[in-house]
Symmetry: C2
Amino acid sequence: MGLTKTENFTEAQNELAKMLKALAHPARIAIIEHLIKANACIGTDLVEVLGLAQPTTSQHLRELKEAGLIKGTIEGTSMNYCIDQVKWKQYADKLNAFFTPVNFSESCC
Amino acid sequence: MGLTKTENFTEAQNELAKMLKALAHPARIAIIEHLIKANACIGTDLVEVLGLAQPTTSQHLRELKEAGLIKGTIEGTSMNYCIDQVKWKQYADKLNAFFTPVNFSESCC
DNA sequence: TTTATTAATCGTAATATTGCAATATAATAA
DNA sequence: TTATTATATTGCAATATTACGATTAATAAA
């Protein structure tokens, strides 16, 4: 069906899945990495960096924006994108909490 | 096209995206959480836990197995699933490295 | 043997995602 | 005003994902 049965799961589970999904594409990873690395925020050489068409790049940027991971400010005709560091920290914390559970019961297989 | 242009990105970027994708579904999050919480490894009450059909559950389990996150051992007619703790730690480390970059250039937007 | 029981696989329908060309929008430059 | 530049949106084609019924395979129980 292609349609996730979100009603079967907790809000926390759905949210975590959504967070992971927002980053589950190499282009979006590449965008984030580039924004972290760049000492200045970026107009859009991002199209060049990714090697994807401008509309495709714009779409990935929108997904990251919708996830709250990046912000964009207008600068003339172009856009300055950068990481939303507050949201980024929230992501890091939530994922860290998920990946380092308090008690791992000893492996039985 | 629905087909990711992996050739545009580095191996590390593609791998990280794949890792995130393996967990980017609430059912797979739920499976992992249940396997962590359960003091014993699980036959498959997982079908009940998820509230999804048996083939659907099996499919999600396969994806997690292919990602290396879980292992299964045969026990009679049933299967015992559990987290692969070595792989799990690798995941935690890689994601942690991604989310806590050494130098965040100060925000400019 | 026959009959459950459990889990994987196959086939398929419905929806989602990825990517791009074409177009639209909006701000600047000439 | 008319370009030019940068970005977003629309529409569409191709592939991927999610879910399930039906079937298969393999062990256990009768």
